[in-house]
Amino acid sequence: MSTGTTKLDVVVADIVTVNDMVKRFHFRRRDGGLLPTFSGGAHVVVEMQDGDTPRLNPYSLMSSPLDTREYTISVRRDDAGRGGSLFLHQRVEPGQAMVISYPVNLFSLDLRAKKHLMLAGGIGITPFLAQTAQLSAEGGAFELHYSVRTAALASYGGELQSRYGRRVSLYHDDRGEQIPLDRLLAAQPLGTHLYICGPSGMIDWVRGRAAALGWPAEAVHYEHFSAPQPGLPFTVTLAASGKTIRVGEQQSLLEAMEQAGVDPPYLCRGGVCGQCETDVVSCEGTFLHNDHWLSEDEHRAGRKIMPCVSRFEGNSLVLDR
């Protein structure tokens, strides 16, 4: 998702415990300068070296886009997850040097909206913290409905209510409260845009009701926060250069070739320009084509691969490189 972004060298300026589940991390630039400007809804990818395992996890920026002296993220501890959140909770200390990506926004506000209706569930509140800060500075109209498990786990609920008063409503699961979705969706002025960030069940529920009540799809935005898709390691033989290389979990095939001193041409490194198109000599296994360059027929035929974005799973792969 964020491969191909520029990196930022940062230091952890502070770590704040928000509640039992959530910690907040403050990043500043190591060279002391300002961080790049960003728009509300943007995320950064945090790079972690967890023993032998590199981890790259995306987190929404929650700090105000108007203040780029530091970036803050809030991380909910996920005891069952791949380990990135546990690493941040347990192994990262104030003063530690880290690398994060430039901000990328896949959940941006529609600036034409007459009003922004925001629905958050749990830790899904974080992008809205940045977006409400941006909107309130511009005088934009918004309303935030925030569903939490308990008052104790309502991260930033109090801050938001004191900042924006009645524009923020909280709903507590343990008190049997629920976002009055149908009523809300029916009561909005024309030109309202709807934003959802939360568990996937909540996103499906809201999108389903919005569609049923006639909301146009262009006015419904949701954060489909897919964690970066690395993939299983695999081995490739490069016939022309007589090398056999291993492509790591977090590495692209193109990067692995370059590491081995084989330099296919490239331009975009994003699967569209066609420069790094590579012929397959033989293969026994399945391609994971992620490019937009080859046609569907070519993907099925399996005679070409775009090493900048695509991967392979199987016994053997020989490429003409």
Partner: protein, 346 residues
């Protein structure tokens, strides 16, 4: 050492010309002896010193005169600059991008001092010294996009990104190759590209759009496009077609050298931080045939490209009327020798 700005015109007496150094740095767009549409996008990283790619935003010897020409176009036709209401934030993003890039690359000509949102901008070549509040439209004589693009060579389109598409919701367009902002405003990527032949069928626009939607902050990209223009006229707009269209009938074997110009657009793509929009600067470079053939390689190659160009593309670019005359003239500069790969002169 600063740039020496030329005093010249792009209309009436057409006194525009390139200095010998500017001929050498011309962004010749053909890396081989033929041309076909392609997704020719690459990262916008710094190129060799002295080239048009040395700095992220190039300022050259034509700067002051181009800005005077833009002011004339805008005075006659204010609709060349338009911004839908939701694009003001993107305008501020653009103002920041252009001011910081210029001040960093050309400190002898431009300077920017920021104290929070109180900014002080000095543009020495144009004699501008303004203090304003970033984000407060009332403190500038024009909207932010218009203010800074009246001081920046090339056209600019500001694209809003939404619904998996790009929308041309603002821009300033006075140096264009026969298209109109007033016509295209509010259109999406496929709509404004509708007139282009061959490229849709080749799937070029679908792939290009996917790339553009993923352009990331701090990672701009670029491509070159080209056409030809009779006389060094910047404003070849549909609005003024009556002024320049007939020029195409005036090409003769005797005047090709100084009338026919290769027109190259250095187009770049930048993600904008506050608005999450995209800016598309289209920077136009002109070179006369007389100037171009001072490079033997360019002369040979241009001859072969124009001779072998598919008719649809030649027609779209408006070359049909004078193509034969031009090929005849260029053939005298092509001895059939092989050309070296790559863009540069030999």
């Amino acid at each position: 050492m600063g740039i020496t700005f030329r005093q010249e015109t792009f209309r009436d007496d057409f006194s525009f010309a390139n200095s010998p150094e500017h001929i050498r740095r011309f962004p010749f767009p053909f890396h081989e002896d033929s041309y076909m549409y392609a997704v020719n996008i690459e990262p916008h990283v710094a190129g060799p010193k002295g080239s048009v790619l040395e700095h992220p935003i190039d300022v050259d010897e034509h700067y002051v005169s181009e800005m005077q020409d833009r002011a004339l176009v805008l005075a006659e036709d204010p609709l060349r600059c338009q911004s839908l209401p939701h694009m003001t934030l993107a305008g501020w993003d653009l103002l920041e991008l252009l001011m910081t890039a210029k001040a960093e690359s050309y400190p002898e000509h431009f300077s920017l001092t920021r104290d929070g949102d109180r900014w002080h901008w000095v543009n020495r070549p144009l004699g501008i010294d303004d203090r304003f509040t970033f984000g407060d439209v009332a403190t500038l004589p024009y909207g932010p996009m218009e203010y800074i693009t009246r001081q920046s060579q090339g056209d600019f389109c500001l694209l809003d990104q939404r619904d998996g598409n790009l929308w041309m919701d603002a821009g300033i367009v006075t140096t264009q190759a026969d298209w109109s902002l007033d016509f295209d405003i509010g259109m999406n990527f496929f709509e404004w590209h509708a007139p282009v032949p061959l490229a849709h069928e080749k799937g070029i626009f679908t792939r290009a759009l996917k790339f553009l939607l993923n352009v990331q902050q701090g990672r701009p990209a670029r491509r070159l496009n080209w056409t030809m223009t009779i006389n060094p006229r910047l404003d070849t707009s549909p609005e003024n077609y009556h002024k320049w269209g007939p020029d195409r009938t005036t090409v003769t074997p005797e005047n090709v050298g100084h009338k026919v110009h290769l027109r190259v657009e250095l187009q770049s793509f930048w993600r904008l931080p506050r608005s999450n929009g995209l800016v598309f600067p289209i920077r136009c470079y002109l070179i006369s045939m007389d100037e171009l053939v001072t490079s033997r390689k360019w002369a040979r190659r241009l001859h072969r490209v124009i001779r072998d160009l598919p008719d649809e593309i030649a027609a779209y670019k408006g070359l049909t009327r004078y193509r034969a005359t031009l090929i005849e003239w260029l053939s005298a500069h092509d001895d059939g020798a092989p050309t070296s790969p790559g863009f540069g002169p030999d």
